[in-house]
């Protein structure tokens, strides 16, 4: 079920009503209800893969309990290995099997060896990269003694399959989300209304920005050999906003929906295109994944508190894995590699933590020229990397760049009305997000500062935009990851 579908528009109010008015007396029943509707939400796409979620939940539930029963480190390690083997193994099979087989055969063909192989017709279960990481973090945290395992099987299964974030994150840590299933949820007016605002903003980003950009981007990347450099440059910019609108829009709807049900999910995006360097960008883009890699891979490898060579190795490992997480294609790996190259100078010059707790033009409306230049440079580097992310092969990515940086880069692009319109929408998005860049999301408002008339007119305006200018319905890009 897509968040931007008619089905979800009917599903959510029904769930909300049953959740707060019918099953609210008993916490266990409320959790069981969440579990059932989460499975219904997932099964709407393909009920066969529900068995995989159930199995994944069961393995980590069992592993968690076994680790707590065994005091011996080697036995704990054995159970952790079981969890890692199962989760990574499932992910490897469904997501990477064909890629590994093909790459293996290609590599041997370079030396004149050829093999017969069978490409499996595997359907990638939606959200597998998200929920396997979520369950893995639970087992790792128990192993490290950071949290205690749960005996409550319904709460645990509900945590793994919690429908707002099941298929595209944010990737929740058990330490944040699981305890929320143990406590009775009470309805909070401000939380619910803010959740609704976040849903509205997320839908705007997805339907008005991403879906409209998608049509133009598909056209430009599909015909890049015939188009002028200036058009290709605009195509790259539009893809940057497509993927941002798509993914951060999904996260906003997910977080807002969870808030309607009394849950707090982690922030996943913090206005990344206002970042002043790549390190800041990575602290603001897909935060739940970046922090997952930081905590479970980068820091265990020694992080930045080690020799320079090891630091460099760690940076490459983390970015390459991040790229590979997105899919079984060399383009994603190259995207990760490019980001590692961008990040490395900052780390070596010890400037990667320069903008940890601040935002551009803090408490000012207009950024300084220096900040504007930094934001522009970071965005430019980002879109160069996005070109490879979007291209079907690394070669295509380089050809796109080559055609983009040709003499026609400075020609005037001949844009249609729809294309001009999309840039106006992006301008609106940037304006709203710039104003709210110190808040949790683009539409967070304080009641004391804004009148109800202004707010309601703004909501009507956004709803009008969503219905009137909404692009053709597209699946969320991150569903494929």
């Amino acid at each position: 079920m897509l968040f931007n579908s008619i089905e979800f528009t009917i599903f959510l109010p029904i769930v909300f009503t049953l959740y707060w008015f019918i099953v609210n007396r008993n916490l266990k029943i409320q959790n069981a209800f969440l579990l059932i509707i989460s499975y219904l939400f997932y099964g709407w796409w393909d009920y066969r893969f529900l068995s995989l979620i159930i199995l994944s939940s069961f393995v980590d539930y069992f592993v968690g309990l076994q680790m707590s029963k065994n005091d011996r480190k080697d036995q704990k390690k054995l159970f952790l290995s079981l969890s890692i083997f199962f989760n990574i193994g499932t992910l490897a099979f469904f997501k990477y099997y064909n890629f590994f087989i093909e790459s293996f055969v290609d590599a041997f063909m370079l030396f004149g060896q050829s093999f017969d192989y069978h490409r499996l017709n595997i359907i990638l279960p939606i959200g597998i990269s998200f929920y396997t990481f979520q369950t893995l973090s639970y087992s790792i945290d128990i192993y490290k003694g950071k949290m205690k395992p749960t005996n409550d099987i319904v709460a645990f299964f509900s945590f793994v399959s919690f429908f707002p974030q099941l298929v595209a994150g944010p990737i929740e840590r058990a330490s944040n989300l699981l305890p929320q299933f143990y406590e009775k949820r009470t309805f909070e007016y401000s939380k619910a209304t803010d959740g609704l605002r976040q849903i509205l903003w997320g839908l705007f980003k997805k339907i008005v920005i991403a879906d409209n950009c998608a049509v133009i981007v598909n056209d430009i990347f599909g015909n890049y050999t015939e188009l002028a450099g200036s058009v290709l440059f605009l195509g790259a910019i539009l893809f940057a906003f497509q993927i941002y609108g798509d993914f951060s829009g999904y996260s906003d709807v997910a977080i807002g929906t969870a808030r309607l049900l009394g849950f707090n999910l982690s922030k996943n995006f913090a206005f990344p295109y206002f970042s002043r360097d790549i390190a800041e960008f990575w602290r603001r883009w897909h935060i739940s994944l970046s922090t997952w890699f930081r905590d479970y891979i980068y820091i265990p490898l020694g992080g930045s508190r080690t020799k320079t060579q090891t630091q460099i190795r760690n940076v490459f490992i983390i970015f390459l894995i991040s790229g590979f997480w997105h899919g079984a294609n060399w383009t994603f790996l190259f995207w990760g590699f490019l980001n590692a190259l961008y990040f490395l100078p900052l780390m070596l010059l010890k400037k990667n933590r320069k903008y940890v707790d601040s935002v551009a033009a803090k408490q000012k409306l207009i950024p300084s020229l220096k900040e504007l230049f930094q934001i522009g440079t970071t965005f430019f580097l980002t879109i160069i990397a996005w070109i490879f992310f979007r291209s079907s092969s690394i070669g295509d990515g380089f050809n796109y760049l080559h055609n983009m940086f040709s003499n026609s880069l400075f020609s005037t692009p001949n844009l249609s009305t729809e294309e001009n319109q999309v840039f106006i929408f992006i301008g609106f998005l940037l304006l709203i997000e710039w104003v709210h860049r110190e808040k949790e999301h683009g539409l967070e408002m304080s009641y004391s500062n804004t009148s109800i008339v202004f707010r309601w007119i703004l909501y009507l305006f956004l709803i009008t935009f969503i219905f009137y200018f909404g692009g053709k319905q597209q699946e969320f890009i991150y569903f494929q990851f």
């Binding site: 008619i6 309805f187 007016y189 599909g222 009507l460």
Partner: protein, 316 residues
């Protein structure tokens, strides 16, 4: 919770009131009843009794803006009713709307735009709801997929109508406008644009539409049975896509043609024959100028003659 529900209820009541109010507004185009109302006049033509055989032109605006029916009437001594209004109604709605008025021995010349063979072509888009808005009783013609189209486009229609209504109050339209109810002649051909300055027609890229011709072609197949049962004749021909658009979409057009040929429909002409030079178009890639309309009708008359329409008429 009570305040939350009250405010949500109030907000959605305002939204719903605006939507209902908008839906009740007339479908305007620059302050005048839009071309969608012309269906009422075309229904009157269909209801009219006549001793002469009749030729029904079924399709979108490639027909209303692409045929000058008096030429056909004169050539074959038949009544021609051009039902073309908007391709956005979808093929199914156009056909079902005609079926209500179908008579024995009708000759139906079906000329769908190429988009009607692609995704959304069978069940329509926003204009479908504008058509239903004009004749609400036609809602019973809709199936589940078309109702979904209506549901998806209802908010868009309301916003569009409010915009058109406000604009009509703010400024009055100067001079003639071609997309209104009174833009058609007594056969249903658009003629109000004759002599008006041409505008940029642009090109269409069908690669953007998902290729699903089979669905529409299966539907045409079932319609051909309906026409046969009425002892009529179903002929299928090709729309007048401008030359530039035609040349850049040949592979899709070839696929559509191949599927039509496979089912042994009675096909009139070839796609390339009806693709005219861009200079003969008025304002879009399917809307011809006066000269273009007359030229295309001439080609069609020749093809109908070659196909043996006169002989078929003589046999009746």
């Amino acid at each position: 919770m009570n305040i939350f529900l009250f405010k949500i209820g109030l907000f959605f009541s305002i939204l719903l009131s605006l939507a209902v109010g908008a839906f009740l507004l007339p479908v305007l185009n620059k302050g005048k009843p839009s071309l969608h109302y012309s269906i009422i006049d075309k229904h009157q033509m269909l209801k009219k009794d006549s001793d002469r055989p009749r030729l029904i032109l079924l399709g979108g605006s490639n027909l209303s803006f692409g045929i000058y029916s008096p030429i056909i009437q004169e050539k074959f001594q038949i009544d021609v009713i051009n039902l073309g209004i908007h391709a956005g109604y979808g093929l199914k709605y156009m056909v079902d709307d005609y079926k209500k008025y179908a008579k024995e021995n009708d000759i139906v010349l079906l000329i769908p735009e190429y988009s009607l063979y692609l995704e959304n072509g069978l069940y329509g888009e926003l204009p479908l709801i504008q058509g239903i808005n004009v004749i609400p009783s036609n809602v019973k013609l809709l199936n589940f997929e078309q109702l979904l189209v209506i549901l998806r486009n209802l908010p868009k229609l309301c916003i569009k109508k409010i915009g058109a209504f406000v604009l009509s109050k703010l400024r009055t339209s100067k001079g003639p406008f071609v997309y209104n109810r009174n833009s058609f002649n007594s056969c249903g051909d658009a003629v109000a644009h004759w002599g008006m300055p041409k505008s940029n027609i642009g090109t269409i890229d069908m690669k953007k539409g998902k290729m699903v011709p089979s669905k529409s072609i299966k539907f045409i197949h079932s319609f051909s049975k309906f026409v046969r049962d009425k002892k009529g004749l179903l002929l299928i021909s090709y729309p007048c896509l401008n030359r530039t658009s035609f040349n850049s979409n040949t592979s899709i057009i070839n696929q559509i043609t191949a599927e039509l040929e496979n089912l042994n429909f009675e096909l009139i002409g070839t796609p390339s024959k009806y693709s005219l030079p861009d200079s003969l178009y008025f304002d879009t890639h399917y809307h011809l100028s006066k000269k273009g309309q007359i030229q295309r009708t001439g080609i069609l008359v020749n093809d109908l003659e070659k196909h043996g329409l006169q002989q078929w008429l003589n046999r009746q």
